[in-house]
């Protein structure tokens, strides 16, 4: 009775432990859902922002850039680019790509309309106002 190590006990511990932590995770996720309205800037989630998010997605911006630190690490963080550069710079920059500077990293030309550019900027503005626990550490992202 002592000194045993049985597979059935190991299995029971696995099922019990897993169920326990799944439930705990669901409880925390539930609390997160309750707390999000204070943090996720949903008051400013306009149709333009939603349209901008879609433009962000269908051009695979995340394939080079990070957004709130997630994505590829090839090009600058854009979660705070609205604060770093402002709306006009962003639009002009996107319109003028690629720079064609030899040897420099190139951003494709996405042929966005003025409306699409406005929406994208709205999305980046909304993103920059999300409460991210003061991340990134400085304006350079």
């Amino acid at each position: 009775m002592s000194g045993t190590f049985s597979k059935s006990m190991a299995r029971n511990v696995f099922y019990g432990g897993t169920a326990f932590f799944v439930l705990l995770f669901l409880a925390l996720s539930f609390d997160t859902q309750q707390a999000l309205p204070q943090r996720d800037n949903r008051a400013n989630l306009t149709p333009a922002v939603a349209a901008g998010k879609k433009i962000w997605e269908v051009n695979n911006c995340i394939g080079c850039h990070t957004l709130l630190g997630e994505g590829a690490y090839y090009a600058p963080e854009l979660g705070n680019v609205y604060k770093r550069r402002g709306p006009d710079f962003i639009k002009v920059w996107i319109k003028n790509q690629p720079t064609k500077v030899p040897g420099r990293r190139q951003m494709p030309q996405f042929n966005l309309t003025d409306k699409q550019l406005d929406d994208l900027v709205e999305f980046l503005k909304y993103t920059s106002e999300i409460d991210t626990n003061n991340w990134p550490p400085n304006i350079e992202g």
Partner: protein
């Protein structure tokens, strides 16, 4: 078969007097449960260390908020859990040393009642806190208070689920001297839940 094994144990020297527990080289119960217990204790230890660290950053806040805690409720709950642990220990002894399944089941039922009392009292405490608008996001102290106690609360629930299974099994005579691996393992887990509270209560409710 059950009656037979009960018979042999009753006529065995065990019934002469309370035998001194033999020194064992291994802990009671299953090694698998001990891995789990160690892992859980490690999680709690890191959580407690994090609490100490966070408290050191803002002692004034922690001390001020601590006054809002109901120490009486916490104290009663401590007594309830220790009593439950005692009942579980009695149950293990009744079954493992004397082969008395019925007695063991009674002790387990008593332990479950104490554990249930703990949960009820804790719910009353939570209700008061939630009514006061306290949540995980209120401040660091309440974050830790709710996280630690709720994490422990869920352990009590799991512990009670385990005790209930043990109670059913014991009532059916599923354990006895020499074959109480499951009972000992479950009991060890319950003692862990109790032990954690014995650290948690002074740390969060009392110490300053």
């Amino acid at each position: 078969m059950n009656a037979h094994s009960l018979d042999t144990t009753l006529s065995a020297p065990a019934s002469l007097a309370a035998p001194a527990p033999e020194a064992r080289s291994t802990p009671p119960g299953d090694l698998a449960i001990w891995f789990f217990i160690l892992a859980e204790l490690l999680v709690f230890a890191v959580f407690f260390a994090a609490y100490a660290f966070a408290r050191a950053q803002d002692v004034a806040l922690f001390n001020a908020m601590q006054d809002h805690l109901d120490r009486n409720a916490g104290g009663i709950n401590t007594v309830l859990l220790i009593t439950a642990s005692w009942c579980v220990a009695r149950a293990v002894r009744a079954v493992c040393e004397h082969g008395r399944s019925a007695t063991g089941a009674h002790w387990l039922a008593a332990a479950i009642a104490c554990g249930g009392g703990f949960l009820a009292l804790k719910c009353v405490e939570y209700a008061g806190k939630f009514a006061a608008g306290i949540s995980l996001s209120t401040n660091t102290f309440w974050m830790f208070y709710l996280s630690l106690t709720f994490f422990h609360f869920m352990h009590v629930i799991l512990g009670l689920v385990i005790l209930s299974i043990l109670w059913l099994q014991t009532r059916r005579g599923g354990y006895g001297p020499g074959h109480a691996n499951g009972l000992e393992s479950g009991a060890a887990y319950w003692h862990m839940v109790d032990l954690v509270w014995i650290v948690l209560f002074p740390l969060v409710y009392v110490m300053r």
